[in-house]
């Protein structure tokens, strides 16, 4: 029987993701890929997949999938659980952060998390939709890659190449925080913001409700244009993930995986790559503080 996951229901958003398609920024293609990279990678490991396998990124739960063949899944991200329905009457709970075996016909449902935003579901063998420019990731900015999941969609699943790890004890998982302090490497345009290091160190910002995979807007003390740069217009320049861009209203935007490849407002600093995944899970209203750093020259 064809190995597939059939989508029975979807919540606010569910996307096929892998590690993304870096390397095409020069032709306007965003990197895309899982916003919470470590959670996605852990899910793949838990089902015995190689790290480049594709899984699902599920915003605020609500996703149901029916397995057409016996398989193994694992949910990571904020702590939570899965519900497994077998037939009409039997429903059982399964914990996140461990391999869960499904029989053919089982329906697995991902409930909304109690903290954070995004769960990552891996399936043994990975989701094997066609690659676009070397990646199976959906890209919400450019529309490349598979469309967001809708009820009735059928996701092809690859043949598992290894046996899922055994003896995986319960992993210590803590709730996604609602307040973070992240390291911010100043530049390339910190000199365009008045007293950038001090203002960034002192301020506390709140995650705005408009965040998505392109970026998270922060609300708080306005970062003002440095006097020496007033009236000057920056020409669009290449952006990296984690770039903190300061538009004219002074409210910073942190760019995430589906970010445009270039942008025309000054980038005051870049969130440390090891800490960027936190922004995948920050709910609106969460608070963000920065620890500004000056990068030693290479």
């Amino acid at each position: 029987m064809t190995r597939e996951l059939v989508v029975t229901e979807v919540g606010p958003q569910a996307l096929v993701v892998d590690r993304g398609r870096p390397g095409w920024a020069h032709i306007g293609v965003p990197p895309a890929g899982a916003l919470d990279g470590p959670a996605h990678a852990l899910a793949q490991r838990l089902v015995g997949n190689p790290p480049d396998a594709a899984g699902l990124e599920i915003l605020l739960g609500g996703l149901g999938l029916r397995a057409t063949a016996a398989t193994t899944v694992a949910l990571t991200g904020p702590p939570g659980g899965l519900r497994i329905r077998r037939g009409d009457d039997r429903e059982r709970a399964a914990a996140s952060h461990q391999p869960v075996h499904l029989a053919a016909g089982d329906v697995v449902v991902v409930p909304p998390p109690t903290s954070g935003l995004r769960g990552y579901l891996a399936v043994g063998g990975g989701i094997v939709v066609d690659e676009v420019l070397g990646s199976r990731s959906a890209d919400t900015l450019s529309g490349l890659g598979p469309a967001p999941l809708e009820a009735g969609a059928r996701l092809p699943v690859g043949a598992p190449t290894t046996i899922p790890p055994v003896g995986t004890g319960a992993l210590g998982v803590s709730a996604a925080p609602d307040a973070v302090r992240v390291r911010l490497h100043l530049g390339p345009r910190a000199d365009w913001v008045d007293d950038a290091a001090e203002r960034l160190r002192a301020g506390t910002w709140t995650v705005a409700p408009t965040g998505d995979r392109v970026g998270v807007r922060l609300e708080g003390p306005a970062l003002e244009r440095a006097a020496a740069r007033r009236g000057e217009e920056l020409r669009s320049e290449g952006l990296v993930g984690g770039a903190v861009q300061v538009p004219p209203d002074g409210q910073p935007v942190v760019f995430l995986a589906d970010h445009p490849t270039t942008g025309g407002y000054p980038v005051v600093g870049v969130v440390d790559p090891a800490e960027l995944a936190a922004f995948a899970q920050l709910r609106p209203g969460s608070s963000v503080r920065f620890s500004p750093l000056v990068i030693p020259p290479v």
Partner: protein, 213 residues
Amino acid sequence: MDVLPAGPEALLVDLDGLDAVAAVGAALRDALDRGDLPGVVDVVPAARTVLVTAPGSRDALRAVRTLLEHVDPADVPERREAGTVELPVVYDGEDLELVARDAGWSADEVVAAHTGAELTVAFGGFAPGFAYLAGLPEALQQPRLDTPRPRIPSGSVGVAGEFGGVYPRTSPGGWRLIGRLTDDAPTLFDPDRDPPALLVPGTTVRFRDAGRP
């Protein structure tokens, strides 16, 4: 040439003009294609900058710095094998009259100037396959619209600032639109093609008047 940090995994080379961007961008791209910059993932030329990314490899960024010491920003590369692309246009854009008025020309004169120009792809960005075209006649170098349009049909031909461009797919945008590619024009972006983008830096672009609808 200033080299600015863009986080711990990238450098932004700040330059003083499109020619310098072409020189530095080509030197870095060629080194990347030759395999001389292991660890470098992206080389992204823009109007006055070239971004270089190398996730997890400070050594790669050091190699980039060393290479930059040997690049002459005045050494603009010859047009590469990218060659010449001719794009057929129906000049019926929503802003054709506006562009003509601001240029002090008739619509026909705008068309003549646009088709007479030999444009060069300076860099890509904004959307997959979108190319910024340098060499626009001065009268056609006009500001963006005050309010961007939420939906611009794919194939729309526009101008903004010092650049011309064509929208490869339907998207929002603020460029002044003077026409649209004909249905049989070459495909600007096809992820299954190598290279996926038709208009790569250095390509010469000429627009041809395909007549009125």
